[in-house]
Structure formats: structure tokens, C-alpha cells
């Protein structure tokens, strides 16, 4: 669906079901340079099981208008504005990679609005490889190729997507190339590299939090994810083996199972 946030027309997938304000809201926040489509194997389940779902395209990404936001802090404030814009008081947040930084910061800033937090492939800081950052800021498609290479675990490089016929390295790459690389991936990578408040923000979080980590994640390794989780009171950690950073595609079913158990227990549908 399309709606306005801070004057810009924003797109969010509602998981294939009509958006219903009477149902609890789950907001999914994508990673650097990507779009709402990375969440398709998680969102549709919740949309069909009693939740209202918004898998967002951040400003300037996917089908959303406006310009890419330049800092994680601005993105965190923007998520709060999304909740206001759709007429809700509260929501559950799910983030992947950069989306984890955004949702951590948002939860720390707006503790009354956020009811549960689910982090996939998250860390307290995501410093960027300087070569990768430079390529992305120059709009070089090689940045996308490198990201897709590093973001998939050894098994993920072979494929074996749960949706028959989809080859996820190319699908992810096409998502990242769907808009101008330097204006999406370049801006996002710089925002990640500049963000230093993750660990401090984590200490402020007092809501049920889940970290899903993957054994073969080279971008946000398990030890970095655990370091972050240790700072969040009562945080749960689930580790997916034989899987890389793109866990939401590489091991979509296993991720969905963990996420489903966590959200339905801590943020039940009516």
C-alpha cells in the first residue's frame, strides 16, 4: 500500500492481505540497498495469521518516493513517523542487517511505541569495508556483486531456494540494482559506517528482543551479534547453522519458525 510519511509517498507491502487497523502491527525494515521484497517469505505468513504487516521500502528505495535518509538516527525517527502515519500507537519491529541498527535506535528512542524487537543478522556496529563503501558510493555494480557474495554463506552460493525456481543471489542482486546504486546502497553503507550508537542504544532496550544469527554470516558474525544481544536485557538468541547473512532468503523457513514462535508469544494477535 502507499501512504505519506513526512510528505513523501511511501510503499509498503502488506503481505498480500488488506491493511487492517484492528490488528497488531508488525513493521519489517530491510537491509542496505534492498527493498520490501526481501521479506516476502516472512511477511505473508503474519499477514495471513492475524497481524497487519508493513514491509517498508525506505525512502528512495524500491517503490517509495523521496530521497534516501542519510543517518541511522534519521531512519529510526522515520520508523516512528511511519507508526504515526498509519494511525497506530505501537508496533513490533523486525530488522535485517542495517535494519537492525535502525530498529535498535528506534526502540531506544521510542520505548513506549515498540513492543517487541526481532533482529536478523544484527550487530551493534556495522563498519564497512572501505573498498566496498567506495564502490557503492561511486555507483559501481561491482558493489552489489560483492555484497551478494559476502552476504551468502557457502551453502547459499549453491542456491536451493525454498521457493521453487528462484535463484536468490541474482534475485538479491536485482533488488539492490532496482534504483541508482549510489543513491541507495551508497547512502545506506555510509549511514551504517557512521553509526556509533548501537551498543549504547541496546543498553536502553527493555522489551522482549530476539536475535537470529547465522553461523556463516561474514557481514555480521555470530560473535558480534552475541555482543549486541548481551547488552539487551533478557534478549534471546537463536543461531541458524549452515547459513549466511541473507538468512531470511537462504533459510527462510527456519527463520520464519523462530520468528513466529517469538512474536506470537510476546506480541500475540487478537
Amino acid at each position: 500500500m502507499k501512504f505519506k510519511v513526512n510528505g513523501d509517498e511511501i510503499f509498503a507491502s502488506t503481505g498480500g492481505r488488506p491493511f487492517d487497523k484492528n490488528k497488531p502491527l508488525i513493521i519489517f525494515v530491510h537491509g542496505s540497498g534492498l527493498t520490501h521484497m526481501t521479506w516476502v517469505l516472512q511477511t505473508r505468513y503474519f499477514a495471513f495469521h492475524g497481524y497487519s504487516v508493513l514491509a517498508l521500502d525506505l525512502p528512495g528505495h524500491g517503490l517509495s518516493k523521496g530521497k534516501s535518509l542519510k543517518t541511522i538516527e534519521d531512519m529510526a525517527d522515520w520508523i516512528s513517523s511511519v507508526i504515526d502515519a498509519v494511525g497506530y500507537q505501537e508496533a513490533s519491529l523486525v530488522g535485517h542487517s542495517q535494519g537492525c541498527l535502525v530498529t535498535i535506535e528506534c526502540t531506544a528512542r521510542y520505548p513506549d511505541k515498540i513492543k517487541t524487537l526481532s533482529l536478523m543478522g544484527g550487530a551493534g556496529a556495522i563498519p564497512m569495508n572501505p573498498d566496498l563503501l567506495a564502490l557503492a558510493e561511486n555507483g559501481d555494480p561491482k558493489a552489489v556483486d560483492l555484497m551478494m557474495d559476502w552476504a551468502h554463506g557457502p551453502a547459499g552460493h549453491f542456491g536451493g531456494h525454498p521457493v521453487p525456481g528462484l535463484y536468490h543471489i541474482n534475485t538479491g542482486g536485482m533488488l539492490a540494482k532496482s534504483r541508482t546504486i549510489k543513491d541507495t546502497l551508497g547512502v545506506d553503507f555510509r549511514a551504517c559506517d557512521n553509526y556509533k550508537n548501537g551498543f549504547e542504544a541496546a543498553k536502553k532496550i527493555k522489551i522482549p528482543t530476539l536475535s537470529i544469527l547465522a553461523t556463516d554470516d561474514k557481514m555480521c558474525p555470530v560473535k558480534e551479534g552475541k555482543k549486541l544481544a548481551d547488552l539487551i536485557e533478557g534478549s534471546k538468541v537463536d543461531i541458524i547453522d549452515n547459513c549466511g547473512h541473507m538468512m531470511l532468503l537462504e533459510e527462510a523457513d527456519r527463520v520464519l519458525k523462530v520468528l513466529k514462535n517469538f512474536i506470537t508469544a510476546n506480541f500475540p494477535a487478537k
Binding site: F11, S13, G16, R17, P18, T35, M37, V40, L41, R44, Y45, A47, F48, G62, L63, N129, D131, L132, L135, K142, D145, L146, M148, D149, A155, H157, F158, G159, G160, H161, P162, V163, P164, G165, L166, Y167, I169, N170, T171, M174, L175, K177, S178, N242, A252, D253, L256
Partner: protein, 444 residues
């Protein structure tokens, strides 16, 4: 070393030959079986009612019924998508069903397509005779008439379709230019790249949006199994205009789902499977999918030999007294030689068309007397194949259509196999000797 010469990080995603053997399959998820298992089953157990509903609602990936998807077929689909550089693929029972499914996913009654005139005869008949019965009309344009494709586009045109190298005349479409024409008109370019396989050309790199193959040919390569596939490039924006309501508007068949919004770079394949396979059902058998996978494992090895043998045969035919003309993109005076060099850097393919002196009678004598080359209606076998198109593959066309498709009565279509090249030439000598005999008799 100065910073200028510093080599940055390189992507280590697997390359073509490795993907040919491994893409789409993880042994540890299949009892450790090194070879892809053949899932010879019609249907799949649901964990519970919720799981069943999730699969039917496209909430989760997985298999329901082998008409829609099958794990062995799924490996083939991913493998071909990876080799083509596509986002997704859907395998079908034959190349023709891949084309039909592509058209039926793209078009509705009242729509129009612009189509290259030089196509396999069955494809010509689909576009010329069968699709009009569904209310889908086509305008044929000669493959080299790039401007003609532009002129033929109408308000209701939903795509341009063609074979990159036309069957059987070996005329090339200028794919990069024609893709620009298509994209300027907000419509996709669909390319049948059966003759090339992704080893010789990846059409997505030259502007194609959807690629179709008859996998029966070089991809399977051994003349054993029928199969087809459609592959999506993932770059076409279905929401850029209002031409594709079936992709962008809520679809009643899946609770108001918009395929373009929900699946983006894989939307076309998702719709072709969810609607096309559900309603038309031209599914590929798991055994045939497995056979094709065996072929793909050696694709690059075979294609190199096919192409080197073809180039040898081109030289042989060009210098032969019984041959009137030879058409192959490797011939320097072929009108598309330069374009072929650009689009087919790894080889120009193994399809040769040549004219035999003495016309139709000589052609018939040649075909009836070769012993090693097989006379049959197929191409892309490991074995050398020959046919006289005007009396075989394209025999259902009238005289005018034959002429428009660039066919002549002296034309022989040769699909060069990977036998020893000397044996192929020796066999052709037998055929040519027989072909000369009627003329020698009549001259006396």
C-alpha cells in the same frame, strides 16, 4: 604498488562451469546424495493444516503437487536461472509450452505482439494460427529489419518476441537495439536463445527481459528428453505503465495479490507458475529434468566441440563444388558477422544452413544418402543432424510464408554434432556424390 594499481576485492561467486554442476542443489538437504535425486512423486505431505494453507497462500516456499513444482525440476530451474544470470525460471514439458506459457502470462485477449518472422516452424504456427484463436494477434517483422520492429508496435502491443539467431536461415536480431525499442515503448523483449545456450550468449546482458529455451536441444544435448524453460531477468518494471494489469492489479486467484508489488524481480515467473502451471499444466517430468541436468553438467565442454566442428564444416562447405551458398554467422561476408562477434563471443553456434546445387531434388538425394548424419526433426543433439526444412520442419507453411521466413527449396539445415570432424565430412561426400548424380544423368 601504487593505489592506482591496487586490485580491489573480487566477487567469488561461482563461475559458469561450476554453476553448471552445482547450482540449485545442496546435498546436505537431500540425505547427502551427491547426485540430484529424482523425486518421482505427484504430491507432498503437509506438516499440518496450517502448513497446507501457507503453501496454497504463497506464504512459504515448498511443493504441493508436481504439476506446479517438483524438487528435481526445481534444481534444474535454479541451475538454468543461475547460468543465464536470471532471477528465476520455470521449466516446462517442452520449448513450445515455455513459449505458450510466456505469452499467456503476458497477454490477454485483445493484445498484440511483434514477432520476428524467422522462427522454428512450430513457433510460427503458434503465433500465426493458434494465438489469434485466443484473441492475441501478431505482426511479423524480418529479423534484420530493426526499424520494422519499432513501426509494428501498437497501443496494445505487450512484447517483442524473436529467436536471437533465426531458424533456419541464421539471420540475427539486433538484440541490443531491439531491446531499446521495446523498453522505449514500455514493453519487454522475449528472446528464444535455444540455439545459443547461456554458454554462447546471455541475452539478459544485451537487454532481453525474458529468455526461453527448448532444453531438448543443446542444454540436454543428447537427444533423449523433451523439456523447455522460461527465465526472468528481473529488471523489467511491470508497474511503469498500465499495460500489464495482470501483473500489477490485485489477482482474484490469490486473495487480491499483486504479483509485481509482492515479488518484484521474480513476479513474472511466480505468476507463470501460480496461474499458468495451475491452469494449463505443461509440467516437466522429474526424470526428464534429471536427464537435462546431466546434459547441463557438460554444457561448456560440448558447446566448445559443437562450435569448433561447425567452423570446420563451414570451411568445408564454402569450398565444396556442390554447395551454392553457406549461411553461418562465422562466415565473414554473413550480413550479421560483426553483430554475431559481439553477441556470441564464445562461438557462433553449430547450426549451419546451406544451399545445395541442383535445388530440391539434389537436397532430397543428399538427405537420403548420408549415413552418419541423422535425418530427423531436431537440432542440438550430440550427433550430426540434417533436414530439408521446406519439406520437413517448415512444411506446413505456404510458399509466401516460406519466402518471408527466408527459406528456399535448396536449403539444407545442418546441426553439427560432436563426432570426429573427418567422419562428418566423409559422410557428406557420400551425400554430395548422390546429389550430383541426377544432374549428371540429365546432362548426358
Amino acid at each position: 604498488m601504487s593505489d592506482k594499481n591496487k586490485k580491489g576485492p573480487e566477487s567469488k561467486t561461482y563461475k559458469f562451469d561450476t554453476l553448471s554442476l552445482h547450482a540449485g542443489y545442496q546435498p546436505h538437504k537431500n540425505a547427502g546424495s551427491r547426485q540430484v535425486p529424482i523425486y518421482q512423486t505427484t504430491s507432498y505431505l503437509f506438516d499440518d493444516v496450517d502448513h497446507a494453507a501457507a503453501l496454497f497462500n504463497l506464504e512459504r516456499g515448498g511443493h504441493i503437487y508436481s504439476r506446479i513444482s517438483n524438487p528435481t525440476v526445481g534444481v534444474l530451474e535454479e541451475r538454468v536461472a543461475s547460468l543465464e544470470g536470471g532471477t528465476a525460471a520455470l521449466a516446462t514439458s517442452s520449448g513450445m509450452s515455455a513459449i505458450f506459457l510466456t505469452v499467456m502470462t503476458l497477454c490477454e485477449a485483445g493484445d498484440h505482439l511483434v514477432v520476428s518472422s524467422q522462427l522454428y516452424g512450430g513457433t510460427v504456427n503458434l503465433f500465426r494460427l493458434t494465438l489469434p484463436k485466443f484473441g492475441i494477434k501478431c505482426t511479423f517483422v524480418k529479423p534484420r529489419d530493426t526499424e520494422g520492429f519499432k513501426k509494428a508496435i501498437q497501443k496494445n502491443t505487450k512484447g517483442i518476441f524473436g529467436e536471437l539467431v533465426g531458424n533456419p536461415g541464421n539471420e540475427l536480431m539486433n538484440m541490443p537495439e531491439i531491446s531499446k525499442i521495446a523498453h522505449d515503448a514500455g514493453i519487454p523483449l522475449i528472446v528464444d536463445a535455444t540455439y545459443q545456450t547461456p554458454y554462447l550468449c546471455k541475452p539478459f546482458e544485451h537487454g532481453a527481459d525474458i529468455v526461453v529455451h527448448s532444453l531438448t536441444k543443446w542444454m540436454a544435448g543428447h537427444g533423449s528428453s523433451m523439456a523447455g524453460i522460461l527465465i526472468e531477468g528481473g529488471n523489467f518494471d511491470w508497474m511503469q505503465n498500465d499495460k500489464f494489469p495482470t501483473m500489477t492489479k490485485p489477482y482474484e486467484g490469490y486473495h487480491g495479490l499483486s504479483f509485481a508489488e509482492e515479488f518484484g524481480p521474480t513476479a513474472f515467473t511466480m505468476k507463470a507458475r501460480a496461474e499458468g502451471m495451475r491452469d494449463f499444466g505443461p509440467c516437466l517430468s522429474p526424470q526428464n529434468a534429471w536427464n537435462v541436468l546431466q546434459g547441463i553438467e557438460t554444457l561448456s565442454v560440448r558447446m566448445k566441440k559443437h562450435c569448433s566442428n561447425a567452423e570446420e564444416m563451414v570451411k568445408y562447405l564454402l569450398n565444396h563444388e556442390s554447395v551454392a551458398w553457406v549461411s553461418h554467422p562465422s562466415v565473414p561476408d554473413h550480413p550479421d558477422h560483426a553483430l554475431a562477434k559481439k553477441l556470441l563471443p564464445n562461438g557462433r553456434g553449430s547450426m549451419i544452413a546451406f544451399g545445395i546445387k541442383g535445388g530440391k531434388d539434389a537436397g532430397v538425394a543428399f538427405i537420403n544418402n548420408v549415413k552418419l548424419a541423422s535425418h530427423l526433426a531436431n537440432v542440438g543433439d550430440t550427433r550430426t543432424l540434417v533436414i530439408h526444412p521446406a519439406s520437413g520442419t517448415h512444411s506446413q507453411m505456404d510458399e509466401a510464408t516460406l519466402k518471408f521466413a527466408g527459406l528456399s527449396h535448396d536449403m539444407i539445415r545442418l546441426s553439427v554434432g560432436i563426432e570426429d570432424i573427418d567422419d562428418i565430412k566423409n559422410d557428406f561426400e557420400i551425400g554430395f556424390r548422390a546429389a550430383r548424380k541426377p544432374r549428371l544423368v540429365s546432362n548426358q
